[in-house]
Symmetry: C2
Subunit: 225 residues, 2 copies
């Protein structure tokens, strides 16, 4: 029997639906088209239904505290406008740390990196997030080395991605790590997502950040010069 890989995707009120849908559909396609089987568990803080920023209501499979006691291969925290409120939830950080301890790898999509960082899970790691939140991540967490010009960043057992559609690129990269490039290529073809785009991207060129400045094109942590 192929291994079953449990992917815990963490959602909350005000999450971005694409951040969940990209990984969900990519891992499902990989299960159908490749040798491994992925089992998706959608988890919200208390297991109650959540509403995406786009107004779509999703019923999760479990609460964070429940999945913190179960088997986990991959932890993935999604982004969205509600991430700050999620971080403020008293149990969020300890629950994420507990799940991460059980997981083979800890990942985030878009501003989900802010939640991982708030739980201390990115300290000492290179990471990225939505281009409009790179400054915020770097300013709030000086021990995180923020790379603002990447579709995704892989540093040891941490994987973080840029915004929204970058969730699909990240998920394809995770499938490639697990199942090899041939399966990832087949899944990308199924999803009409070829050719792959380079990890170092300029998709946000000219887009102002939330602070009105344009993101710099190198590591935040290393400073100017």
């Amino acid at each position: 029997m192929p291994p079953e890989r449990v992917v815990v995707v963490v959602v909350y009120d005000g999450f971005a639906l694409l951040d969940l849908a990209g990984p969900a559909d990519v891992f499902n396609a990989a299960s159908l088209l490749g040798p491994d089987r992925y089992r998706l568990i959608v988890a919200s803080p208390d297991g109650a239904p959540v509403r995406s920023t786009s107004g779509v209501s999703v019923t999760p499979d479990a609460s964070l505290s429940t999945v913190a006691r179960g088997r986990v291969d991959t932890l993935m925290v999604v982004g969205g406008l509600g991430v700050q409120e999620f971080i403020g939830h008293g149990r969020a950080a300890p629950d994420l740390r507990a799940i991460s301890r059980r997981a083979r790898r800890t990942t985030s999509v878009c501003t989900g990196a802010l939640a991982l960082a708030a739980a201390g899970l990115l300290d000492g790691f290179r990471a990225t997030t939505h281009w409009a939140s790179c400054e915020r991540l770097a300013a709030a967490h000086p021990d995180v080395e923020v790379l603002p010009d990447r579709i995704y960043v892989h540093d040891r057992d941490r994987w973080t991605s840029a915004g929204v559609t970058a969730a699909i690129d990240l998920s394809l990269a995770l499938v490639q790590e697990d199942c090899g490039p041939s399966v990832a290529h087949t899944v990308a073809g199924w999803a009409a997502r070829r050719p792959a785009r380079p990890v170092s991207s300029r998709f946000r060129d000219g887009c102002p950040t939330t602070s009105g400045r344009t993101c710099r094109s190198r590591s935040w942590r290393r400073g100017p010069g």
Copy 2:
């Protein structure tokens, strides 16, 4: 006040979550970043919760028969492995025809085109669908001119897209039609989805169809030669 554009997205058991999430998040971003306001209504056959092929449970806002009596700007039918069962639902075709009659434009994502075609809504139109279903669409509906090598096809008030991630390209094109290229460009930047890819795509090159043959690279209806 800017116009409010009601987008009815039709889902069913076995729909592809990305087909819903792409349009939902693009129209939501357009509402935040552009002059028009989009209101998304997720509709299932009887208004009951539905489960995506990837196992995510979504609670819709309404039933098809309810939205068939309301205001509609854009009808969008999503795809998924459950589309055949959805088409077999006795009320699906008449409900889709009733909603389409009220809509300014009728659209589909991925194999959602099979549902539009089954309701007779693509007869006499050029259309596309997921590359693996182009043969099926053309064989079952000889009055539909199937273009298999397109990200999306726009023919009068019908818009149909290729599979999965092409939903995002289609939604950006609809936003561009409504709000102009500048807003669409801003939304694409927010979604880390630039540069735009060409409408005529070769993303499925070398991918076999469900019948084991490779899709031909021109209109199905016009036949060989």
